[in-house]
Symmetry: C2
Amino acid sequence: MNFLEERIMKDGVVKEGNVLKVDSFLNHQMDVALLDKIGEEFHRRFADLNITKVLTIEASGIAIAYAVARCFDVPMVFAKKAKSINIDGDMYTTEVESFTHKNKNQIIVSKSFLSSADRILIIDDFLANGCALQGLISIAEAAGAVVEGIGIVIEKGFQYGGRSIRNLGYRLESLAIIESMDAATKTVVFRKQEE
Amino acid sequence: MNFLEERIMKDGVVKEGNVLKVDSFLNHQMDVALLDKIGEEFHRRFADLNITKVLTIEASGIAIAYAVARCFDVPMVFAKKAKSINIDGDMYTTEVESFTHKNKNQIIVSKSFLSSADRILIIDDFLANGCALQGLISIAEAAGAVVEGIGIVIEKGFQYGGRSIRNLGYRLESLAIIESMDAATKTVVFRKQEE
């Protein structure tokens, strides 16, 4: 097991409905040393790529994307949900469905911050059915940017998001892939990955 | 001028309606070196306090709070807007109005992550009328925690939030306080502060 899988075993909580709560260290309370380590690990895995920008989506992706972007020393951009009066009219937009919140959101990125010169690393905390991720990919590609890689902290391997993104040819790496989990027995089984 | 005021002069955009856009470096695209520096500066200013936790609110506060929390080597907690199925029922909650989005949100923090043993540093990107900040203070105090300090990146000094929070006795430090701004002439005037 890697450092993240160990942490999930220690502090993750399995709930009914295939919900894995990691809010004591990853997406409500955040362990800063763990975030630093996640940033370094993604940097190590994608170090061969000439990344110009890290892209994520609010809210829980932001700290992780910053942890990664500071290792690459490139700017981080986060897609926003819904329209704010502080955003110019000139923006990339797409609609995504949220598994967690059971609703749909417009997500937007200002056209000022993504261009055809960009080589993007997309970062997010969770991958389940892949809706948010597909939204980010579609925004990056609308900008003419190249999606060089995708880094996910926790992938739910029993949902179809990861498989469909990989089938499209994207280089997707997840620090932990959950093969199955069981709320009754409080167990999590991880997919075996090459170190 | 300090490093942040200089950056605002260089890359901030003044819009009608007292809107200062800093989305090229602070709250949409994020300059990671600037964030690191903001984290270090707040650590320097509040180094005399025995901070146990950094508290902020999603979304644009998250990266800044992480930058600060990693300098203190303490956990960061961000308050969430609206209820998620991934949050337990046992939470602190309060209602805040958003100046930017012209709406009201419930903000919530799980009771697991704030306690009467905590000495809190609250961090946020903007302070205008202080609604979000008062929400965070009320959540921290509902937990019995002590709000030791409040660090704001950009305060709109011509709105009443900063004055009312200081009048309540809180130690509030803003890296930049805008005294006035003018969209017609594209000018920003900062309040003179002790270095």
